[in-house]
């Protein structure tokens, strides 16, 4: 019998709410198959299973909130037969669907003012409905239900508040535990820009590349020489990752941020990366991420240049040990061989964990990225 | 047996006898009432040790203070607390000397300066030191009338207390500050079930007090005359010289520590040997030998004591239970209330 447990989908995840089962008892499942959708506080995630077998029993029902590590379902191993009888499963679950969080004062006030609490979005701690929520609702018409971004059973969850809390927890932990150091380097993109323009001129709009893809690939290749930037700080020590699964910071339109992974970036072609990136952004915004994408980025790349800033000095996402940032690509004066030219430049920055690396290695890592971006055709 | 003459006039000599009888008869009845469920909690009987309270307390003046232990029925009675109030207290009635809030272990009486009734071994010692300190510091002065007599605080405690830090701290403070305390150690040889020899490296208790430069006396606690004489010597020392005095009364309790115990800790033979020296019959024998007491007089005394006990039981039985609505009284002094 295999226990299929709720995996941790990030350092800041302690629990999740099962939204939907994609399999039924009796179904055969393959390794890597997406079998369930789970709502972390940040987003809905497709959860994969890593053992093949036959679904025996679905233990957790949609809507239930369970701690990481809880058994979600049991599976029969290939060849295993159904055990004759089984005692009623003892499952540790936290029932949440039963009762909304409403402060006692808000509940009393809602009764007095005749406000239907079930229509309100809570703004208090743990998204509880507060006195102010009730009073506001009593003075204005009930708000139109905002479109639900994620999916099915999660309508009541105030995604923004939850996500803000989760980001806050992860970032606080990072700033508390990780001794950050910061470096930056201005990188000329004349060759890269020209190469990209030339490529895209020949491509239909559906297959065009973005500069971000070149940057991702350059970062991934650079980690081959600088493995101390790529991996996890765990159990008091650094564990380098065997491949570069780059977390791509993606801002959500409704606020908040996710940084799911594109796997094996160094081994992929630019076209593959572009297609992965397009797909990832689409799924982030549709709320259909896979558990492995959420849980295992080995190094995060953030590109705030879109917002027009020159440089970004980021906060490392634990247990990762570094974060590479790119600012806006701008045309600026640049001197080469004593002559001033106007060429596109970008400021690449590095926030890295001093427990793992020093500024000297960090500087060399940025220089490597610099060098790689000078030869876009080799990327 | 000590056959020396009892050096008192007949009324006083009989007073001592009568008080020992009152304690004995009261406690015998108390034991029976305990069995009947009328008295509950802990009940520590003084039977066998009566000579100590009677002899010592008759040496004190009415304005002296007394601090006693949880084996204090006899001390309260001899001090002047009525048997009715004591019995009612043991019954838990509001007519009790502590309104039923204290029980057997916590008899108190402001009128006779009887400060309990302290049931933490050694706990009364610092209290006695403080009462004596107040007398020494009292702004009204420490002289009374023409005699300029010092008030004394008599503090009773058992041999078990000498193992407590409170004993040593109190002995030191009283000696250091030369306070008028009479330390009355009732050495009945057993702290509950632990004999002195099994708990103390130094079993000479006077030596412990002497280590603090406190004057001491060791006396036969089964002999009411010896007790009285020793206490008068101690009191005189305290009043005249100002510092504390320590008396070890060597005595023995005939019954269990509290109502019942299996007495695994002492030989029946030892108990029997001490009973042969029982304070009541040895003292009455001496009085008879001296021609101060006839058997009829003894029986009359005993009958009077028994009648008082019977009356006190009736009084306690008839007493009232304090209403539960008054549960919270006497936690703090009511606003506008006064203190002693």
């Amino acid at each position: 019998m295999i226990d299929f447990k709720l995996p941790s989908l990030g350092a800041d995840m302690d629990e999740g709410t099962l939204l939907e089962w994609l399999v039924q008892p009796g179904d055969e499942v393959k390794r890597g198959q997406v079998v369930a959708i789970v709502d972390t506080s940040k987003t809905a995630v497709d959860v994969e299973i890593w053992q093949a077998g036959k679904v025996h029993e679905l233990i957790v029902r949609p809507g239930e909130k369970i701690p990481v590590g809880s058994v979600l379902a049991t599976l029969l191993e290939p060849g295993e037969s159904v055990p004759p009888t089984r005692q009623a499963p003892v499952v540790q679950t936290i029932k949440t669907e039963a009762r909304r969080r409403v402060s006692p004062a808000a509940r009393k006030e809602a009764e007095t003012l005749g406000v239907d609490i079930s229509l309100l979005a809570g703004t208090g701690p743990d998204a509880a409905v507060t006195l102010e929520d009730v009073r506001r609702a009593a003075t204005v018409k009930p708000p139109v239900q905002a479109p639900v971004v994620a999916s099915t059973a999660s309508a009541a969850i105030d995604r923004n508040a939850e996500m803000r809390k989760a980001i806050g927890a992860a970032m606080s932990r990072s700033k508390r535990e990780i001794p950050h150091y910061y470096l930056s380097e201005t990188i000329p993109l004349r060759q890269a820009g020209a190469w990209l323009a030339e490529q895209n001129a020949r491509r239909p709009v559906t297959t065009r590349l973005l500069m971000a893809v070149l940057q991702l690939k350059a970062v991934a290749l650079a980690t081959r020489k600088f493995p101390e930037m790529n991996g996890f700080w765990q159990d008091g020590g650094f564990k380098p990752a065997p491949a570069a699964h780059l977390g791509v910071a993606i801002a959500l339109r409704q606020g908040g941020l996710l940084a799911p992974a594109i796997h094996n970036v160094a081994e992929k072609t630019l076209d593959q990366l572009m297609s992965d990136l397009t797909d990832l952004v689409k799924r982030v915004r549709a709320g259909t991420l896979r558990s492995s994408e959420m849980s295992d980025p080995t190094l995060t790349v953030t590109n705030l240049g879109e917002q027009g800033v020159d440089a970004v000095f980021g906060v490392i996402y634990p247990p990762q040990v570094a974060l590479v940032g790119f600012g806006k690509v701008r045309e600026r004066p640049w001197t080469e061989a004593g002559e001033v030219h106007a060429i596109p430049l970008v400021v690449a920055s590095l926030a890295a964990d001093h427990r793992v690396s020093d500024g000297h290695r960090g500087a060399l890592f940025l220089a490597e990225i610099h060098e790689l971006l000078q030869h876009p055709e080799r990327l | 047996m000590n056959a020396s003459a009892v050096p008192y006039d007949k009324p006083f000599a009989l007073r001592l006898l009568k008080d020992m009888l009152r304690i004995r008869r009261m406690e015998e009845e108390a034991a029976e009432l305990y069995g009947a469920g009328k008295i509950r909690g802990f009940l520590h009987l003084y039977i066998g040790e009566e000579a100590v309270a009677v002899g010592a307390l008759h040496a004190l003046q009415p304005d002296d203070a007394i601090v006693a232990t949880y084996r204090e029925h006899g001390h309260a009675l001899v001090r002047g607390v009525s048997m009715n109030a004591i019995m009612a207290e043991m019954f838990g009635k509001q007519e009790g000397c502590s309104r039923g809030r204290g029980g057997s272990m916590h008899l108190f009486d402001a009128a006779t300066r009887f400060y309990g009734g302290n049931a933490i071994v050694g706990g009364g010692l610092p209290l006695a030191v403080g009462l004596a300190l107040a007398d020494q510091l009292s702004p009204e002065g420490i002289s009374y009338g023409a005699q300029h007599r010092r008030r004394v605080t008599a503090c009773f405690f058992g041999d078990g207390a000498v193992a407590e830090g409170a004993f040593h701290e109190s002995m030191n403070l009283a000696a250091l500050w030369r306070l008028p305390v009479l330390f009355c150690c009732e050495n009945n040889l057993y702290a509950m079930g632990t004999s002195l020899a099994r708990s103390e490296s130094q079993t000479d208790l006077c030596a412990k007090a002497a280590a603090y430069k406190v004057e001491t006396l060791k006396v036969d606690g089964m002999d009411v005359v010896a007790v009285h004489d020793a206490t008068r010597i101690g009191i005189a020392h305290v009043r005249d010289k100002g510092g504390p005095f320590f008396i070890e009364f060597q005595t023995f309790r005939f019954r269990a520590h509290s109502m019942y115990d299996p007495e695994l800790y002492r030989d029946k033979a030892e108990v029997e040997a001490w009973k042969q020296r029982g304070p009541l019959h040895s003292y009455s024998a001496r009085l008879k030998a001296q021609g101060m007491l006839t058997e009829d007089e003894f029986l009359a005394c005993d009958a009077e004591a028994q009648a008082e006990v019977d009356a006190s039981i009736a009084y306690a039985e008839a007493g009232a239970w304090e209403p539960v609505e008054d549960l919270m009284r006497d936690v703090l002094t009511p606003v506008g209330g006064t203190t002693s």
């Binding site: 402060s103 006692p104 004062a105 509940r107 009393k108 208090g124 701690p125 509880a128 507060t130 006195l131 102010e132 508040a161 | 203070a65 009790g96 000397c97 502590s98 309104r99 039923g100 809030r101 204290g102 916590h106 108190f108 009486d109 402001a110 400060y115 309990g116 009734g117 933490i120 706990g123 010692l125 610092p126 209290l127 006695a128 030191v129 403080g130 009462l131 004596a132 300190l133 107040a134 007398d135 510091l137 009292s138 702004p139 605080t153 830090g165 409170a166 701290e169 109190s170 030191n172 403070l173 250091l176 009284r329 006497d330 936690v331 703090l332 002094t333 209330g337 006064t338 203190t339 002693s340």
Partner: protein, 323 residues
């Protein structure tokens, strides 16, 4: 008039000694040494060794003697150097002083004042940093005061001495150098909590050495648009539930700040009363900022981490505000 907490205590003690011949001060090093916190410096010369009484290191003995002297008609002020040492006298305080009135059926009161320093913050490590106010506040039959301002340091002693029952005064060691205004000559009340800062969003309820931290936190919160009310309990037994509940009814949110360890703390008691008496007024679960549950470490950064701090109070207040 601007003065320090220490000077205010001194002035109150001197006044008490001058006004009532029954008052005397007793404790370790109160006389020749001048008091371990210099509160009674110079008193030995002024009032003599009878009334400024150096005691041997016998906390059980001299606290008990204080009880006896109070019974004997005096008005002793017993100084126990720190709350840590008071544990040696706990028997006399709990088994005798607090119980005597009740177990004597109301015959004897104990008009005793015990002063002691408490609290951490000076790198004194695990045996000299306790905040055990709640142990004493647990005991019926005594009153427990925690002056946290110069005014209370000056004004609480007289009513404590006038009280017929035992009163324990906790002086947080971090407060002795606190400067503040003390204009009054009249005694303050020792029955009610006091609002030290009015606010409408959240009640920060605290006492003693945590009051300055709570006030500091309130200032920081103001900068974030959160209007915090700060309630100084002042009297830890009997607790002034009415003031606590009144504040929470107004703000609907409570953060209790207590230097004691969280488990079984005074903060727990305050929180329980809030939940019992103001449940339907609460707009968020009440929160606590207490000391971490570790014997106080010596190293400064660890000690700071173990204690309530303004930043922790701010974080707790923001959390109950849902921010």
């Amino acid at each position: 008039m601007k003065t320090s907490y220490r000077e205010a205590l001194r002035a109150a003690l001197r006044e008490a000694l001058q006004d009532d011949p029954r008052v005397f001060l007793m404790g370790e090093d109160v006389g020749r040494y001048g008091g371990s916190y210099a509160v009674s410096k110079g008193f030995l010369e002024e009032f003599g060794p009878e009334r400024i009484r150096d005691a041997p290191l016998s906390e059980l003995g001299f606290v008990g003697a204080g009880i006896g002297a109070a019974l004997g008609g005096m008005r002793p002020i017993v100084e126990v150097m720190t709350v840590n040492f008071s544990l040696l006298a706990l028997d006399q305080i709990v088994n005798t002083a607090s119980a005597l009135r009740h177990m004597s059926g109301g015959q004897f009161s104990v008009p005793l004042v015990i002063r002691m320093a408490s609290g951490a913050g000076r790198q004194l490590a695990a045996q000299h940093s306790h905040s055990l106010e709640c142990w004493y506040a647990h005991i019926p039959g005594i009153k427990v005061l925690a002056p946290a301002t110069v005014e209370d340091a000056r004004g609480m002693l007289a009513p404590a001495l006038a009280d017929p029952d035992p009163v324990i005064i906790f002086e947080h060691a971090q407060l002795y150098n606190l400067e503040g205004e003390s204009n009054h000559v009249a005694p303050v009340d020792i029955s009610a909590a006091r609002v030290r800062r009015t606010g409408s969003d959240v009640s920060l309820i605290t006492y003693g050495g945590s009051l300055p931290k709570a006030l500091q936190a309130a200032e920081l919160l103001a900068g974030m648009g959160i209007d915090a009310e700060v309630v100084d309990l002042r009297v830890l037994r009997p607790l002034d539930s009415q003031s606590i509940v009144a504040s929470v009814r107004k703000t609907h949110r409570a953060v209790v700040v207590d230097e004691g360890w969280r488990s079984g703390s005074l903060a727990a008691e305050v929180m329980a009363r809030i939940v019992e008496q103001a449940f339907f007024d609460l707009d968020a679960p009440p929160a606590r900022v207490c000391s971490e549950e570790v014997p106080m470490p010596y190293a400064r950064h660890l000690e700071e981490a173990a204690l309530p701090q303004a930043a922790k109070i701010v974080a707790a207040a923001r959390a109950v505000m849902g921010k």
